[in-house]
Symmetry: C2
DNA sequence: TAAAACTACGAAAACGATTAAGTAAGCATT
DNA sequence: AATGCTTACTTAATCGTTTTCGTAGTTTTA
């Protein structure tokens, strides 16, 4: 590997000069600068990131924390999309993206924070984890630049899908389709879920829709079995809902199964709506009505924010970024028959 | 950040001694070793990965190349699963995983190989890319330890899903269900596709099934529109097939749409089979018959292999690792009515 | 008892970069 | 002509490790 020293030898100047020339400092003559750059190019010079990081304390590397204890993480469509967009964004800024090791089996396991320090990540993006984990808290409370996704911490930048507005839009759409008896199967208890649920209740109230307790079922995300169970329960009520909102698009498939089994048809007999906007939803028959979260925007905003936090900490405003989604009016919510 | 020097000051020994004690060298007295380790622990010492890498030329970091030009990559279920498993494996061995920057927008764009050298990755895993890309070739032909996924290069370790056996098993299963007229919509031209196609023809021959040219349609992966088109084409034939094999599970959804539109029923009127074994396939109604690729095993094998290549290059045998899949006999392939 | 061998540690160079401080030469200023 | 200011470099320290080569002191061997 050719180093600054090699170049300096060839050019007959000191390493300092080479370094400065390559980094465009102004105290190097134009002609020398050109010559050095040319030689560096010819010799195939590449800076050594380790040396650079050691000296400058900047790694140009962003750590991402994506726990997969629950076998989620990368296999989770929503987060995979967000991650994909995040990756593109930071890469366009010249940063790389490294996963923060969260294996418990690894030798010398250290906390997330310690791992971040060890690797010298310039910043960290956290998503899809248990935000109440002590180690996550430790990371959040450290001096490392952090952006969280879909969870808000005090004094930290968060990029959040607008679940409040999203649920409001979705329920309003359903209302406008004539439904007055809408059930909601919500996901496991997270701030995302709480926001959606609150918004569900508030919107219903605004629309003067009554929501019997039996219409709100506590399920969990991407759990098709549970979705089936909940659907069965809802449709078995004396006064069943005319529309069911699921915690996510996958869960809808569970709903569809039960509905089919009961000999009912979507959307004629019962309407359903999902949440997320996964690709396959718009290709099935009938096309899924759902709230499409803007994963592209969430990922890219998270990327822009973490880089801004790293590069200009003083002028970066610390406030949540809310990304709105969009009702994707497919065919699974039909005109309500009263 | 506390460094070796700080510890050496506290312990009253030299940095060399501290380094050696912490790394378990044998030329340090037992009691000193214990003392140093304890002090290091108390002071919250963390090695500096950059300094370590600079000195040792080992980064304990694995680069992964996952191109997403085609908006695939992380959003691709199959590869996301593989990646997830790869991540777990390398992390358990104490390695981190970093994406190889493939953004064309980034400042000072360099080739993949140069980026790998710059970051000092100990090894690289390549998947889901255009294997005929010059930059990929450059990387493959370098002295960097490389493992490829689902593509075989001379003298390099590849971890490959057994598409030959997979297609054979799938077609044989379909044959055993009584089908004699089986069509195959294949994906775009890659070595994976060619293997499957060859195996399809060969297996058909072995089973004495005739495959008219019109039964083999060249489509592409995860392209639902194309799958719909191809399905329509196949079902419009004078002598239509009784079963259609799709290039992947997603494409099946396209097939299902067309079939439904034509007023046909799966599997009574027409059978279909996918390939991959994505989660949702086993939850839809009727449950998808497909060939489940063993993504866990593919990812973990790739991880084990790259680490073996890094840590014991001499004794690592350079040969492809073939991972077999499994027919997942759902309900979309029924008994053939002749 | 002198030589050889071990044991336990230290000094110093090195990895490849960055950067503050110094310096020599050339030029303008008074 | 002495001074100061630029310009264009160089020197040398430094980041935090690892590792080779010493070197005292102790123990074993002949």
């Amino acid at each position: 590997m050719v180093s600054l020293k090699d170049i300096s030898a060839v050019c007959g100047v000191s390493v300092a000069t080479v370094s400065k020339a390559l980094n465009g400092h102004k105290d190097i003559g134009e002609s020398t600068k050109r010559h050095i750059k040319q030689v560096a190019e010819e010799m195939g010079y590449l800076p050594n990131s380790a040396a650079k990081a050691l000296k400058t304390n900047r790694s140009y590397n962003i750590g991402v924390l994506f726990a997969d204890e629950a076998h989620n993480g990368l296999k989770h469509d929503y987060f995979a999309s967000v991650l994909d967009s995040l990756k593109k964004t930071v890469e366009a800024h010249g940063y790389d993206m490294t996963f923060i090791n969260c294996s418990n089996e690894r030798p010398n396991r250290t906390s997330y924070l310690n791992h971040v320090r060890y690797r010298g990540f310039d910043g960290v993006v956290i998503a899809c984890v248990d935000f109440y984990d002590d180690e996550v808290a430790e990371l959040i409370n450290s001096d490392i630049p952090v952006v969280t996704i879909d969870h808000l911490f005090d004094n930290r930048i968060a990029v959040i899908s607008d679940n409040v507005q999203g649920m409001k839009d979705l329920l309003t759409y359903i209302y406008e389709m004539g439904h007055r008896k809408v059930a909601y199967i919500c996901g496991n208890d997270t701030s995302v879920t709480r926001n959606r649920l609150t918004s569900f209740y508030r919107t219903a109230e605004e629309l003067h829709m009554e929501v019997p307790d039996s219409y709100v079922v506590h399920g969990s995300y991407r759990d098709i079995d549970k979705a089936e169970e909940a659907t069965e329960q809802l449709l078995g009520l004396d006064d069943p809902p005319t529309c069911i909102i699921y915690p996510d698009d996958f869960s809808c498939f569970g709903g569809l199964n039960v509905i089919k089994k009961l000999g009912l048809k979507v959307p004629d007999d019962i309407s359903i709506a999902g949440y997320d906007g996964i690709m396959i939803g718009s290709y099935i028959e009938p096309q899924l009505t759902t709230l499409k979260q803007n994963t592209d925007s969430i990922g890219s905003q998270a990327g822009e924010k973490i880089i801004s936090l790293i590069e200009k900490p003083r002028t970066t405003v610390i406030e949540p970024v809310i990304i709105s989604g969009e009702v994707c009016n497919g065919e699974t919510v039909g005109k309500a028959v009263r």
